[in-house]
């Protein structure tokens, strides 16, 4: 399977610079786990960070800094060799960390029209959630006040712009009003992050939105 929709350079650089809200960093980390091309690009932005660090100048450390650090590492356990975080299910490893397991561990809530979601614990600058869209079902028509990233983990969806399947990311901004429809065959599961509340226009009354933390 080939990934056709990738992260933008802007997002990869913001990720390398450490400037993404946690929810967006989760979508980026999940995509990088599936896409070596974006991973290499993200690493090359890290290298820019390395060059900036080299040129940041020097500010003298305290006199005893080296001695104190040496004394400290004496007692530090060797960081454990990374455990095989390779997920066995459909969730990439960083997502498994947030959910506490794979698909069966998700605690879904219904949001109407057969669509279910689960909000993931991140800082409040942006919201990350899992979406479960039954095959053939439309996600209520919605626009965006901010930025929304949607990574497909299972199945596929299509909207006015294109078709998205496992590993693909849709980057939607304020300009996009779309109606994603899960394609027939397999229920679609996505990881989505947004820095503004979604404005549903269709199935869900706007009054209900705070209840669902949409």
């Amino acid at each position: 399977m080939t990934i056709r929709h990738h992260l933008s350079d802007q997002l990869l650089m913001a990720y390398a610079a450490g400037q993404l809200p946690e929810a967006f960093s989760l979508v980026v980390a999940a995509h990088l786990s599936l896409c070596d091309d974006c991973r290499a690009q993200a690493d090359s932005f890290d290298a820019v960070g390395g060059a900036v660090l080299e040129e940041a100048g020097e500010i003298a450390m305290g006199e005893d800094a080296l001695a104190r650090t040496l004394a400290r590492i004496e007692w530090l356990p060797r960081a454990a060799a990374p455990k095989p975080r390779r997920a066995a299910g459909i969730f990439p490893a960083p997502l498994v960390d947030y959910v506490g397991g794979d698909l069966p561990a998700v605690r879904w809530r219904r949001v109407g029209g057969g669509v279910r979601q689960a909000i993931l614990p991140t800082d409040r600058d942006a919201t990350a959630r899992l979406l479960y869209i039954p095959a053939g079902t439309a996600v209520p028509d919605h626009g965006h006040r901010g930025l929304e990233l949607t990574l497909v983990l299972q199945g596929a969806f299509a909207d006015e712009t294109d078709r998205f399947s496992r590993g693909d990311v849709e980057i939607a901004d304020e300009a996009l009003e779309h109606t994603p429809v899960a394609l027939a065959g397999q229920d679609c599961i996505c990881l989505a992050a947004t820095d503004a509340p979604l404005r549903f226009r269709g199935l869900i009354p706007r009054l209900a939105q705070p209840l669902f933390r949409i």
Binding site: M13, A17, A56, M61, L76, R86, R166, G167
Partner: protein, 195 residues
Amino acid sequence: MLRRKKDGLVSSEDETDWAALLLRVRDHQDRAAFAVLFRHFAPRVKAFLMKSGAGASLAEECAQDVMAVLWQKAHLFDPARASVATWVYTIARNRRINALRRARRAEPEELDWGPAPEPDQAEALETRQETERLGRALAALPTPQRTLIERAFYGELSHSEIAAETGLPLGTIKSRIRLALDKLRHRMGEGPKRT
């Protein structure tokens, strides 16, 4: 134990082989090598963190943390994929996110698990040269452009203010990293999981 690393401690600072020193930390818990790395990188990390908005004492404390993590995670360092400066940068950036923003950053699936491979000297050298070339290209940029990049990495710009068009020759370094990833995947006997 200076195997393959006879020139790890040459006098001219620019030619110091930081990767060779970090590998000595990795393979032999070499405290003298660590001290050389500390003297070079700790004051830079401190400067970097202060430019990112940390006060002097917080920056001092975090710089020590960063160097301790460098020791602790030395076995994860892969000289074919990153220079030591890049590696130190990523540790410092994550420490900054924890300390200044009190947030965390999700990390991609780690690829370096399994027995540590013998680093390929030629690959490590090329990665180092590419990184040095990148540093020179950054220094050669017109000031406004360079300042914008620096401000992004000091954490002064929000993600929507960051301009991805850096004017830097990132294509070559990206393809080097891509190659290293392909080899690693091959060694692990798989491609990225996509089912």
